[in-house]
């Protein structure tokens, strides 16, 4: 007979075990003006008992036997922190913080329970917006910027300082590439520039103009030298 009874209790028969005589009371505080209470439910142990709040936010769940329960208030519009409520066999009620990792730890809280909203749950991730600063601060962009700066500034400095110019001249003479190798710029100019502009002197100039981005500083200087000579 005894074994039968214990088996019944394990088989989660709520009519015998779960109906007790104690009640859990509390109050839900939501900002005034929103009717969030209508969609708010009070769950004890994830729905073993379900409570409905009253107009002023208070709630009562009756018929709870002694034991330890997690009381959570659920609302789609507000976040509430769950509370563990212990009812001992004599009916004394204690509320404490929920700690799943150390269930024995006791950090007592106020009873009757008071649930205050911890803000609105954030269900959404912020959408990424296109911002110019993101592009500029991009490391790829910065690595591009340095050669560009060199490309623009170096010839300017070189043209102002005659000594440096001489140095460059020497260096360029030294590093003079093979004239016979075809230049990319020329090739493009031949393709895009069309056969109309057949002047051989102009050809080089045009090629530089059209493809200034891809021309190295060296070539540019060489062209300048050519132009100067012509003048």
């Amino acid at each position: 007979m005894f074994i039968n009874a214990s088996q019944d209790s394990i088989a989660n028969n709520p009519t015998n075990e779960n109906v007790g005589s104690y009640k859990i009371e509390g109050k839900i505080t939501v900002p005034p003006g929103d009717n969030a209470l209508e969609n708010t439910r009070i769950l004890i142990d994830e729905g073993v008992y379900v409570g409905v709040p009253q107009v002023d936010g208070t709630f009562v769940i009756c018929g709870v036997p002694s034991g330890s329960y997690i009381v959570s208030v659920v609302s789609p519009l507000h976040v509430f922190e769950p509370v563990r409520v212990d009812i001992n066999a004599k009916g004394k009620i204690r509320a404490r913080k929920v700690n799943f990792i150390q269930p024995g730890e006791v950090v007592t809280m106020k009873y009757p329970l008071n649930f205050e909203t911890h803000g609105i749950p954030n269900y959404f991730q912020k959408r990424e917006v296109y911002r110019l600063t993101d592009v500029i601060m991009n490391p790829m962009f910065l690595t591009l910027l340095v050669p560009l700066a060199l490309l623009l500034i170096l010839p300017k400095i070189a043209s102002q300082d005659p000594e440096m110019q001489r140095d460059f001249q020497q260096a360029s003479n030294f590093l003079q590439p093979n004239i016979n190798t075809p230049e990319i710029g020329e090739m493009f100019a031949n393709i895009f520039g069309g056969p109309k502009k057949q002047k051989p002197t102009q050809q080089q100039i045009q090629s530089n103009a059209a493809n200034s981005g891809s021309v190295t500083a060296q070539q540019k200087r060489r062209n300048e030298a050519i132009n100067k000579r012509r003048n």
């Binding site: 005589s21 009562v60 990792i101 269930p103 954030n122 269900y123």
Partner: protein, 898 residues
């Protein structure tokens, strides 16, 4: 709908009775143990009370708890509740008036509750002496006033089924006789009077249609279909009643309801009957003995809904309203007016009781079909002509569409949209959900809108039992891939009246039209298990295979087994023997030339469980795909997964020798019968929810010792080397290496499922439905059993996260946002044409459908992708470069002229 409150799913939330008042209603739930009052205006609670009991160790035997709730007719603000041995009274203002416990005796069963202006009367049956003990309690304070007893000829069960109470009368049917027992209401008069009404044949049912302090109407239904209605009138200044029969002609299947209104002179009686797709009503006014002013109405129903299950007739502000619940779970509200009856509300409440779900791809559009045909030819020349002709036709149809767009504009957009809804979209995102509900109604639901495409009701439907749940097998007989043939789906169910009869219904999932060739009402054998053939037989159709109670296998429709099942791969079947708690594996030998359509099974293994009960099994999804055979570790070596497709998870429950409850989880190979994994959890409570996929299992349970929900994740690995890289066989001598970790869940679990994608490349997410109404999407990486306790650089290289016992869930992973869904029982996931996307359909009391992207959207553009900016900036760059070129050349020329 204004508001809705969802109570507990356990017995405690079951509503026993609702008593309606003007502003609020009192709901008695939990077998008469709790009373709560809810306001009509916003559904908020006004008060709540629970009965207090001191004896919780009551000697409950097999007789179910019995609860009776009555509103005192003489004092409408008082409610009396009898819950087994507890009698209590509450007022409608939320005041507990009194509560007493009736002394318990094992032979005494409290059955009847009656009330008068002064007393609350409990009739209890003493099974020893076969006497009904009638005890009077004071209405004011519950004090026992006096008691009497009278002879009683029914036993407890019969008394509950065959008797009803009404005012101070107990009405009991005894075969062809109705006994009316008058219980005296005052202490002076102790005479119990019994009178009888004779019926023509055995009385089936007594229903009280109307009850007031002076007048009552009852209905007596006999098993030959005869229905009689009696009217009771109270005699002046006595507790006795006169009765007379009302002469009303009724059909055998009709329902009766009575309404009163202050404005009406008497009561109005409504007779309703369902006839195919038509509801017929007859409304009359009750005069002394006859009915007058009979009016008839009829309403054409939009579909077949079966018989009436519940009927209520009410007159609200001179509007006659009829509320019906039909056999198929539909809720109907019909307004009766002078110009006829009108259906003003129809809700398919059956959708809250879904038990099986399948998804079907939509059919290909005509152009998609042409593309399929384009590559269909065989010879070189025919292939060439086919391609040319189909491309020409595509071009023509494109021009026709353009022409149509210019000439008609938006005029037939609606029609086109409707057509487009049934045609597969580019990425196969939209599908048709076929859901089977426990009442026997099958729905076809379009996923993009949630609209119901069609519904079919099978009146004699009863689901199969599957461990502790109900189950209806639903199969893809022919998939949508064969565009020349329409797809087919089959359901298999039992007959409601004779549970051994099995019905098969095959239908087109797009229209719900039954395919009569593949529909049968009864099979000549008792079915134990049903599954689908591995090979298509005729016209791309698969056949159903049945295992009967004699362990013989049959095919439906009858085809040779050698055609239905592969003859090269051996077939193993497992069955569960409930009486022995054993899984039994069978081998099915098929000869290639054999033309037999049924054969016996040969037992090859048996796994039996002692001292533990199998409570559930879980199989992997049939759509489960494993993309990679192993995991690349941090040191560039490979850890091979043990991906055994034949594994099932078995959950057992029991109590060990120390009286500690435990739950065991096994992974059972259904081909060899070997157990690959076994876990024991002590002091753990079911339900255990399982996800089994690839080489891993995740399951959740409630830990009673630490009072928290936990999840255990285990992975099976072959090790550093793979035994056979091309195919897997259960007979290979592989001992899988198991790694496990347990995690703490922040919420409880109602259902879990894993996302499914087409090729299985996308990482997996676990979808979890929680009791608080959220659907949470958690990456499986968080459940990974290989999460290390301390993170080494090698683990970091591999992308593992350090182990933390708690699984943190933030609100960003809630996929149903503000739309909370309650009491979810299952989640269905399906792959789409896009590898990144998985479809999620959660069902239970509420339904929820969405798409999830476990690895983010990696194969499609974001929905805010701006095509205009990209287009215009490209144009601007081209134009700009030409302009710049022109300017540069001018500049250079000028420079040259200097």
């Amino acid at each position: 709908m204004r508001w809705r409150k969802v109570f507990e799913t356990n017995e405690y939330g079951k509503i026993d009775r609702i008593i309606w008042y003007d502003q609020e209603s009192v709901i008695i739930s939990g077998q008469g143990r709790r009373a709560r009052s809810l306001r009509y205006a916003d559904g908020l609670e006004v008060w709540q009370l629970a009965a207090t009991t001191t004896n919780t160790n009551s000697n409950q035997d097999t007789v179910a708890k019995h609860c009776q709730v009555i509103k005192n007719r003489y004092d409408p603000g008082t409610i009396h509740i009898l819950s087994d041995d507890l009698l209590w009274s509450v007022s409608s203002y939320g005041e507990m008036l009194w509560s007493i416990e009736i002394p318990i005796k094992s032979t005494l069963k409290n059955l009847f509750l009656l009330s008068t202006s002064q007393y609350v009367i409990v009739g209890s049956l003493d099974s020893n002496s076969n006497q009904l003990q009638v005890t009077y309690y004071s209405k004011q304070d519950g004090q026992q006033a006096f008691s009497s007893s009278l002879p009683w000829s029914f036993n407890a069960k019969d008394s509950l089924n065959k008797c009803s109470t009404m005012n101070n009368l107990i009405l009991c049917s005894n075969n062809e006789e109705l006994s009316i027992i008058t219980i005296p209401t005052t202490t002076d008069d102790t005479n119990v009077k019994t009178r009888h009404i004779k019926a023509s044949s055995k009385i089936e049912q007594i229903r009280i249609l109307y009850e007031s302090t002076t007048r009552s109407v009852i209905l007596i239904k006999s098993d030959n279909g005869e229905t009689k209605i009696y009217q009771f009138n109270k005699k002046e200044s006595t507790s006795e009643w006169d009765f007379n029969e009302l002469n009303i002609q009724m059909k055998s299947n009709s329902f009766i309801s009575i309404a009163t209104d202050k404005n009406l002179a008497g009561q109005q009686i409504l007779e309703a009957s369902a006839n195919d797709q038509k509801l017929n009503f007859h409304v009359s006014t009750i005069n002394e003995q006859t009915l007058t002013n009979t009016r008839s109405y009829s309403v054409e129903l939009p579909e077949n809904m079966g018989e009436i299950e519940y009927l209520a007739y009410s007159v609200v502000k001179n509007t006659q309203l009829v509320t019906l619940r039909m056999q198929d779970g539909s809720l109907l509200v019909i307004k009766l007016a002078d110009n006829g009856a009108e259906l003003i509300l129809h809700r398919d409440e059956a959708l809250s009781s879904i038990i099986s779900v399948e998804t079907f791809d939509l059919s290909l559009s005509i152009t998609q079909m042409r593309i399929e045909e384009e590559f269909g030819g065989t010879g070189m020349f025919s292939m060439f002509t086919k391609r040319i002709s189909s491309q020409v036709s595509q071009l023509i149809s494109f021009f026709l569409r353009l022409l149509d767009l210019f000439t008609h504009g938006n005029r037939n957009r609606d029609y086109l949209d409707k057509q487009a809804a049934l045609v597969r979209d580019e990425f196969n995102l939209n599908k048709i959900l076929i859901v089977v509900t426990s009442v026997g109604k099958v729905f076809g639901i379009l996923t993009q809108s949630g609209g119901i495409l069609w519904k079919n009701f099978f009146p004699n439907f009863a689901p199969f039992e599957h461990f502790n749940a109900v189950h209806v097998p639903l199969f893809h007989i022919r998939s949508a891939a064969h565009y020349t043939h329409e797809p087919l789906a089959s359901i298999v169910y039992r007959d409601r009246n004779s549970l051994h009869d099995t019905h098969i219904r095959t239908f087109n999932p797009y229209t719900g039209d039954l395919e009569n060739n593949l529909t049968t009402s009864s099979l000549p054998y008792h079915v134990k298990r049903v599954f689908l053939s591995t090979q298509a037989v005729d016209e791309f159709c698969k056949v159903l295979l049945f295992v009967d109670t004699n362990n013989k296998i049959h095919t439906y429709p009858s085809v040779p087994l050698s055609r239905a099942l592969s003859t090269t791969i051996p077939t193993y079947i497992y069955l569960f023997d409930k009486s022995e708690q054993a899984f039994v594996g069978y081998y099915l030998s098929i000869d290639e030339n054999d033309q037999k359509t049924s054969t016996n099974l040969k037992e090859v293994w048996r796994v039996s469980f002692q001292n533990e009960e199998v409570i559930n099994i879980h199989t992997r999804l049939s759509s489960d795909r494993v993309h990679s055979a192993g995991i690349v570790l941090g040191d560039r070596s490979v850890l091979y997964k043990y991906t055994n497709p034949n594994l099932i998870a078995v959950v057992t429950e029991g109590i060990d020798y120390q009286k500690v409850p435990f739950v065991n989880i096994y992974l059972l190979d259904t081909v060899t019968g070997s157990v690959k994994l076994s876990h024991t959890h002590k002091r753990v409570k079911s339900p255990v929810h399982i996800v089994l996929s690839e080489n891993w299992i995740v399951y959740t349970y409630y830990n009673q010792r630490y009072r928290r929900y936990e999840a255990v994740s285990s992975s099976l690995f072959e090790g550093e080397a793979q035994y056979n890289y091309s195919t897997f066989s259960s007979f290979d001598p592989i001992e899988p290496v198991i790694q496990s970790k347990a995690y703490i869940l922040p919420y409880g679990v109602n259902a879990i499922q894993v996302t499914t994608t087409e090729k299985g490349i996308t990482s997996r997410d676990i979808i979890m439905a929680t009791p608080n109404g959220m659907l949470i999407e958690i990456p499986w990486i968080l459940f990974d059993p290989r999460r290390p306790l301390d993170l080494t650089p090698m683990d970091r290289e591999e992308g593992l996260i350090m182990y933390t016992p708690e699984i943190m869930v933030n609100f960003e992973s809630v996929i149903n946002y503000y739309k909370y869904v309650y009491n979810i029982r299952g989640i269905h996931t399906v792959a789409t044409g896009l590898e990144s996307t998985s479809i999620v359909f959660a069902y239970g009391l509420d339904l929820f459908f969405t798409r999830v992207f476990p690895s983010r959207i990696f194969d499609q553009l974001k929905d805010d992708f701006d095509f205009m900016i990209i287009g215009w900036s490209t144009v601007a760059f081209v134009v700009g470069s030409f302009v710049a070129k022109r300017f540069a050349s001018i500049h250079q020329t000028k420079k040259a002229w200097k």
